[in-house]
């Protein structure tokens, strides 16, 4: 079976959400069963090689594939959620976005001391979100053994910001 060119399943939307920005919409990739299977399979294969105990996905778009990658890689799934949505106790990270501030929480008991964690998100842009999540994992005593993405916007140099981590993306712009 020939591999699908996954980039062909990403819809580029010009001037969204702002003039001059080209938004990468992966909804068409989720909609194509073969592309979905290949995407999850490729990310899970990379994940499996890092022998993690858990895959952590960030709300909301990191939930699209995070649990499916975990199932395929044979490990559990843990979420990072927006504030106030997880039962107590949690740890919280605040981080800056291009416009404003955001925060994410992880349940304190979700990551045990020494747990090996792979973080998944849909897009690597500036890297601020996953950098904050990685900090939470480490605060709880876990090890970030890899971070993977469907898409990497390499011109934003997120990989440089996440320099200390093992990074993988399937589709590069």
């Amino acid at each position: 079976v020939t591999a699908i060119d996954l980039k062909s399943r990403v819809r580029e939307v010009q001037d969204f959400p702002e003039p001059g920005i080209g938004f990468k919409d992966i909804a068409p990739l989720l909609l194509d069963p073969d592309a979905l299977k290949q995407t999850v399979g490729d990310l899970a294969a990379w994940t499996l090689e890092r022998t993690p105990d858990l895959v952590l996905g960030a709300e909301a778009r990191g939930f699209w594939l995070g649990a499916a990658i975990a199932v395929e890689a044979g490990c559990g799934f843990v979420p990072a959620r927006r504030p106030g949505k997880l039962p107590p106790e949690t740890v919280t990270a605040r981080y800056l976005l291009e416009y404003g501030e955001n925060a994410l929480e992880v349940a304190s008991n979700a990551i045990s001391q020494g747990a090996r964690v792979v973080i998944h998100d849909d897009v690597l842009a500036t890297g601020g979100t996953v950098e904050a999540i990685a900090g939470l994992v480490e605060q709880l005593g876990g090890h970030v053994v890899g971070i993977n993405f469907v898409i990497e916007l390499s011109f934003l140099e997120g990989r440089k910001r996440l320099g200390g981590y093992d990074i993988f993306s399937l589709i590069e712009y």
Partner: protein, 175 residues
């Protein structure tokens, strides 16, 4: 999936159900995805999930069925293109949510299975149904882990499938 396993994993914290233990055990996660879709195999052409917890089991269920996944998003996420939009009835917290579905995601005649971890009042499922129908597709049914909904509230939501009823859960708080 053995209901005793669900009783053990879904516990209450501060009066709210904590469903996250369902997902941190890979064997349970895998079994849930299969059990949710089992009665529907061969019939759905797409699986839909509502932001954000509905995304988790939704994609796993779509992979299990070998069909595509359709996200239904709330008001604030980036979601480009022409969309159908519906506002839910008031939920158990007294909130209304705007739900959105990209029109390009569904074709006329698509048979859509809605997957979630919990159905409480059905307000979101009814809004999802109106979005699906606005695209010319059909809501085949709803598959959830926990069903809280009364029988009469499921009218028009297609085939209902659930793994445990909420009154079968252990109501005591997690230690």
């Amino acid at each position: 999936v053995d209901p005793a396993r669900l009783r053990a994993e879904i516990r209450f914290v501060g009066g709210h159900a904590d469903v996250w233990r369902l997902f941190d055990d890979v064997n349970l996660l895998r079994d849930l995805a299969a059990a949710l879709v089992d009665p529907f195999r061969g019939r759905p052409t797409k699986v839909a999930g509502i932001e954000s917890r509905g995304f988790i089991l939704g994609t796993a269920a779509a992979l299990e069925l070998g069909v595509g996944f359709v996200p239904i998003r709330k008001a604030d996420g980036l979601f480009p293109g022409p969309k159908a939009v519906a506002v839910t009835e008031v939920d158990y917290r007294g909130n209304r949510h705007e739900l959105r579905l990209q029109r390009a995601a569904l074709d006329a005649g698509d048979q859509v299975l809605l997957v979630d971890d919990w159905i409480e009042t059905g307000s979101q499922a009814r809004a999802a149904k109106s979005l699906i129908e606005a695209c010319g597709a059909n809501l085949l049914g709803v598959a959830v882990v926990v069903r809280q909904l009364a029988e009469e509230e499921t009218a028009g939501l297609g085939t209902q499938h659930w793994l445990i009823a909420s009154d079968q859960l252990d109501p005591s708080e997690r230690a």
